[in-house]
C-alpha cells in the first residue's frame, strides 16, 4: 500500500515541480525541455511493463499456469497504453522543436516497432479461441518478439548517422546534460510513473481474474 501512495506523491510532485523549477535555456528545445519529465517516463514505464509481460510468458511456459498468462497479457496491454501516451507526448514535443510530428529517428522507430510488435501480439491472441492454445502460442511469440525488439533498440541507434535524441549527433547527453535541479525532478518522475504503471497493471489483472472466475 505504501508504495502506491509514494507513486502518487512522486507523480504529483513531478507534475507540479516540472512546471515550476528553473531549467537551463538550451538551444532548439528551450522551455519545451520540461517535457522530459513527462515524455521520457512513459518509455521507462513501457519497458518495465513489457519486461513483466515477457517474464510472465516464460513463467507460463515453465508451468502452464493460467494466471501467468493473464499477467502477461495485462502487462502488455498496460504497456501499450503507456506506449501510446509516449508517442503522443513525443509527437507534440517533436512538433514544437523540430517542426514535424514524426521524424526519422532511431528512438522513434524503435518505439514504433515495439507498438507494431505488441499490436501483432494482440492480433495473434484474437485469432484463437482455445484459451490454453492461445496462452501457449502467444507466450512463444511474446518472448521471441521481445528479444527482437531489444535487438532493435540496442543495435539500431548505433547504426544511425544522427539522432535528435540525447547523446547522439551532437545533442547533449540527457543524464550528463541534465543539471542537478532537473535530476531532482526527473528521477522521482520516472520512479513515480513506473509505480503508477505497475499499479494500473495490478488493477487490470485483478479485474481480469475476477471476471474469469465469474465466468466459470
Amino acid at each position: 500500500m505504501w508504495w502506491k501512495i509514494l507513486g502518487l506523491i512522486l507523480v504529483l510532485y513531478s507534475l507540479i515541480a516540472g512546471l515550476l523549477i528553473p531549467v537551463p535555456d538550451l538551444p532548439v528545445v528551450h522551455e519545451s525541455i520540461r517535457n522530459i519529465f513527462y515524455h521520457v517516463c512513459m518509455w521507462f514505464t513501457l519497458l518495465t511493463l513489457l519486461t513483466i509481460s515477457m517474464v510472465n510468458a516464460i513463467r507460463y511456459l515453465s508451468g502452464f499456469d493460467e494466471k501467468n498468462d493473464f499477467r502477461s497479457v495485462e502487462a502488455a496491454a498496460t504497456g501499450v497504453a503507456f506506449g501510446i501516451l509516449g508517442l503522443v507526448t513525443g509527437s507534440i514535443w517533436a512538433r514544437f522543436t523540430w517542426g514535424a510530428f514524426w521524424t526519422n529517428d532511431p528512438q522513434l522507430n524503435g518505439a514504433a516497432v515495439s507498438m507494431l510488435i505488441y499490436a501483432a501480439y494482440f492480433v495473434l491472441r484474437g485469432s484463437m479461441n482455445d484459451s490454453e492454445k492461445r496462452a501457449r502460442i502467444s507466450a512463444v511469440y511474446n518472448i521471441f518478439a521481445y528479444i527482437m525488439m531489444l535487438i532493435f533498440l540496442l543495435i539500431l541507434p548505433k547504426l544511425a548517422v544522427g539522432s535528435v535524441h540525447p547523446g547522439k549527433g551532437g545533442n547533449p547527453m540527457a543524464l550528463v546534460g541534465l543539471d542537478t535541479t532537473m535530476r531532482l525532478v526527473f528521477y522521482p518522475a520516472v520512479i513515480g510513473w513506473i509505480i503508477i504503471g505497475v499499479w494500473i497493471y495490478q488493477l487490470k489483472l485483478r479485474f481480469r481474474m475476477i471476471n474469469e472466475l465469474n465466468e466459470r
Binding site: L116, M128, R136, I147, M148, F152, L159
Partner: protein
C-alpha cells in the same frame, strides 16, 4: 539428433526435387514482381533505391516461402513426425530447408534484377555473401514465426503481420550492409554489419530452438 535432421532434410529436399513447386513458385513470384518494377519505373534506379527495392522483394518472397514450412503437409503426418523425431530436429531441418530455398531465390532474384533493372552492385562477391547471410537470417527468424502462424490456424493472414515487426532489426542492418557492398564503401563497417547479421541469425536460431517444442506438441 544430427541423423534425424539429415533424414528430415533429405525427405523435404527430395519431395521438393520431385515436385519443384515451391522453388518454381518462388522464382516466378520474384520474376513477376521484378517485371512489375521494370514496367513501373521509367528511369534507371539509383543504387540506394535499387538496394531497398531488392531487399523488400526478398522479404516478401521469404515470408511467402517460409509460410509453407509447416502447412504444406497433411496434419496427420505431423503426428507421425512427432512420434519419430525430436522437435529440435524438426525445426533445424525446416530452417536448413528454408535456407536452401531462400538462397536459390536470392540468387535468382539478383539475376532477374540484373536482367531487367540493371545491377549497380560494385562488389559482387560481397553482395552474394550478403544474399547468403540474408537467407540464413530469414530462415532463422521466419521458421519460428511460420510455426506460430501455422499453429494459430490462420496461417497466411497472420504470417505477414507477425513476421514484419520481428524482421525490422535484421532488415535495417541488412539494407545498410548491402548498400555498402553496392556502393563499395566502408569495408570496416561492412564487416561489423555482417557480424551483426550473423549474430542476429544465431540468436534467433537459439531462441527458436528453445521455444519450438512448446509449439510442436499439441
Amino acid at each position: 539428433m544430427i541423423s534425424e535432421v539429415r533424414f528430415l532434410l533429405h525427405k523435404d529436399l527430395s519431395l521438393e526435387l520431385r515436385r519443384m513447386h515451391h522453388i518454381n513458385g518462388l522464382l516466378l513470384f520474384v520474376l513477376g514482381t521484378v517485371f512489375l518494377c521494370f514496367l513501373s519505373f521509367q528511369s534507371k534506379l539509383e543504387p540506394e533505391k535499387w538496394n531497398a527495392l531488392f531487399w523488400i522483394i526478398q522479404l516478401f518472397a521469404a515470408v511467402h516461402a517460409s509460410g509453407h514450412s509447416f502447412s504444406g503437409e497433411h496434419p496427420n503426418r505431423h503426428i507421425y513426425y512427432y512420434s519419430i523425431a525430436s522437435p529440435g530436429a524438426i525445426l533445424l531441418s525446416k530452417t536448413i530447408y528454408n535456407f536452401i530455398l531462400l538462397l536459390i531465390t536470392g540468387i535468382g532474384s539478383y539475376a532477374a534484377f540484373w536482367l531487367l533493372l540493371g545491377s549497380p552492385v560494385m562488389n559482387v562477391p560481397v553482395f552474394l555473401g550478403i544474399i547468403a547471410l540474408a537467407a540464413l537470417g530469414f530462415a532463422s527468424i521466419l521458421t519460428l514465426v511460420a510455426a506460430i502462424a501455422w499453429r494459430s490456424g490462420h496461417n497466411f493472414s497472420l504470417m505477414a503481420i507477425l513476421s514484419f515487426p520481428v524482421m525490422y532489426p535484421f532488415m535495417i542492418a541488412l539494407i545498410k550492409a548491402s548498400l555498402l557492398s553496392v556502393t563499395n564503401a566502408g569495408a570496416a563497417s561492412l564487416l561489423g554489419l555482417m557480424l551483426v547479421l550473423l549474430l542476429i541469425s544465431f540468436l534467433a536460431n537459439a531462441l527458436a530452438f528453445i521455444l519450438f517444442p512448446y509449439l510442436w506438441k499439441e
